[in-house]
Symmetry: C2
Subunit: 213 residues, 2 copies
DNA sequence: CGTTATACCTACCAATCGTTAGGGAGACTC
DNA sequence: GAGTCTCCCTAACGATTGGTAGGTATAACG
């Protein structure tokens, strides 16, 4: 028995049984490792043995916590969408009442970028790895994604009615353009160069013009 | 021997030896099949056996035309970038001399979208599959990509000098936002719904405002 | 102290991966 | 017509994949 296993074992003693395992439980460590691998290596390269190695256990032991690899992946992807969903909602709620639709859009952009680029491998995984998931998996994960996209639909509608989007431009096109830009950011963003706040304000300014005072 | 093999064989007789194999040669069929698989299924799912099946041959026969799977993939990715590069250059050259920087940007957006969404599995593959390529492969393919991105760098510079981009916005951010939006389009675009021309004009209008007359 | 549950292990399975060796059949060359 | 070249085949290789069976050590509970 290795030291890390012993540590994990004693830590487990104080872990309460829950549907959402806490940070240091075995199940959570597996989810964390899977999220990292999905984000950085993609679905196929996220093997059960690679997951196990990151956790410090053997591949077979994974199946004590989850019934299959795809069950882990599905969980990670859905948690990733939920995290960015909550992050954007919180950012919007934290805004003053007098915030304009443009202010709200910029806040949403910033929250989305922060979640996917800095805070969460889960969110990044749900964006980057989604495209080439097995079809059945993509299907089940699509529900949570649609729910999240509804936020942006509403933000776009408000911005359009406030005159921030040209009348002859499709709202769907505007939403897809903005979500495309922020989702693609994971392909080029590197920590420590351009701060996310600057990226968010630049994106908002390009799409919706300077802030009206 | 199957009929399709016999047909391919007689067709091969008239194929001249060339570095860029013509459309119906064995090598080109393999590249086509690989491009399709990379676009729709991703790198890991693009197995030698899947490629062979789409061509109508056996997996081992691929190695008569290429030294390895990665050699085929590298070729497909690079040809994809070259294709969209040429498409954008042609579209810009076809513009009248009096075209504004904004006109040129919109034409480039349209050409990029057409190439990646309708015309070429190669271009689509080079965009969608690039992220999770093996590191060495990503490295060799990055050269051609940089060359293509230089076009957009120049387009952005011209647009900025003509006043289409706010002065306090980073040109890099503008370029990355626009390229992100068009590259992500492959994730949601479905043929026969919104025409690509409409998408291109909407994107240009959101980013650079209405066309000045 | 004996029982039970938890969390891990080893060792294996069938399937699939990229790749190779060796052979065969048609087509071109002399 | 013999020899060579092109293009494909079959059959296998070692490695790796997701997943399973059965065993073991620890902790908690009665």
């Amino acid at each position: 028995m290795t030291i890390s296993q012993a540590v994990a074992r004693t830590a487990k003693a104080s872990a309460a049984k829950s549907d959402t395992p806490d940070q240091n439980s075995g199940a959570r460590q597996i989810l964390n490792a899977t999220a990292w691998l999905l984000r950085h290596r993609g679905y196929e390269a996220t093997t059960t043995r690679a997951i196990a190695e990151r956790v410090g256990i053997k591949a077979g032991s994974i199946y004590h916590h989850f019934p299959s690899k795809d069950a882990i992946v599905e969980r990670v992807i859905n948690e990733g969408v939920l995290l960015v969903h909550k992050a954007v909602m919180s950012a919007l709620d934290a805004l003053p009442k007098k915030a304009t639709p443009r202010d709200r859009l910029q806040a949403a952009i910033k929250a989305h970028l922060l979640s996917s680029l800095e805070h969460s491998d889960y969110t990044s995984a749900s964006i980057r790895a989604f495209a080439f998931l097995p079809p059945e998996l993509r299907k089940t994960c699509r529900v949570e994604r649609r729910r999240y996209e509804d936020i942006w639909q509403q933000l776009m509608k408000d911005a359009s009615e406030a005159g921030y989007i040209p009348k002859d431009v499709s709202l769907d096109a505007a939403r897809l353009m903005l979500l495309g830009a922020v989702n693609w950011a994971g392909e080029w963003y590197r920590p420590g160069r351009v701060p996310i706040d600057k990226i968010a304000t630049d994106f908002a300014q390009i799409a919706f013009g300077a802030r009206r005072t």
